[in-house]
């Protein structure tokens, strides 16, 4: 039957001799292992079918590609691409928006915690 992948993906692992086109030489199974665990977590079988995983990977890559292109269009108006552009794109989708703000604030918190940890290490170093 027909190949379930879109036209943008190819199975060939091309060497570096070709000039880079718009992501037409994507390797297969980049996210395969992670996707298997993820699909189980979301309700699939403990061992999802390989063709299902391949199809989901194709769909996700297509989704990320379209989102990135749209974000680039938005970002080009103000200069460079930033996180704000992605947040603008998902503004209508509340669960995703809330999750992203939560991820970003956690990332900030971790960064602050690491900085505080390093400052403490320095203090300990000077004391001894």
């Amino acid at each position: 039957m027909s190949n379930p992948s879109t036209g943008a993906s190819s199975k060939s692992k091309v060497g570096s001799s070709q000039p880079s086109e718009t992501s037409f030489k994507r390797k297969r199974g980049v996210f395969q292992k992670d996707l298997q665990h993820m699909m189980y977590g979301f309700g699939d079988d403990p061992n999802p079918l390989p063709e299902t995983v391949a199809l989901v990977e194709d769909i996700v890559v297509e989704y990320v590609t379209d989102m990135a292109h749209k974000a680039q269009d938005i970002g080009s108006k103000r200069g460079k691409l930033s996180v704000e552009d992605f947040l603008y794109l998902i503004r209508k989708d509340l669960p995703k928006l809330n999750r992203c703000t939560e991820l970003l604030s956690m990332q900030e918190e971790l960064k602050q915690a690491r900085k505080a940890f390093e400052v403490d290490e320095e203090k300990l170093g000077t004391l001894e």
């Binding site: 699939d44 989102m67 691409l81 669960p95």
Partner: protein, 122 residues
């Protein structure tokens, strides 16, 4: 319990996502928060796909592992709900409706996409 553990701990690798974003945008300046955000969005998208595929399966009264036809049907329904960004690239299968300077997007529906199958063929 292990399903919940898989749900919480599973994630797309940031390095792979960063590589993908660099190849899409052509720019090397992909910040770490951007990678994190896109990984989070993609994970939630996978969740929507799998959950909808399960709903499709219960409608068809099937059981077992999810098959590609369920995913395709789930993807089609998500597109109808507007949760999937539409491709703004014109498919040149008909007369060009707009000039290049027009900013708005007349989007041709993807009638030739292999994902838009009407019946389950597997």
């Amino acid at each position: 319990m292990s399903r919940y553990e898989s749900f919480r701990r599973s994630a797309l690798q940031r390095s792979n996502m960063r590589r993908l974003l660099v190849s899409i945008t052509g720019s090397q300046k992909i910040s770490l928060p951007m990678t994190i955000v896109v990984c989070g969005i993609a994970k939630m998208f996978v969740g929507e796909l799998v959950e909808k595929a399960r709903i499709v399966m219960t409608e068809r009264k099937e059981s077992g592992p999810i098959r590609p036809c369920h995913i395709r049907e789930a993807y089609r329904r998500l597109k109808l709900e507007g949760k999937v960004p539409k491709r703004s690239v014109q498919r040149l299968f008909g007369p060009l409706l707009m000039s290049s300077s027009f900013e708005g997007r007349y989007i041709f529906t993807e009638t030739f996409s292999p994902l838009s199958k009407k019946s389950c063929t597997c």
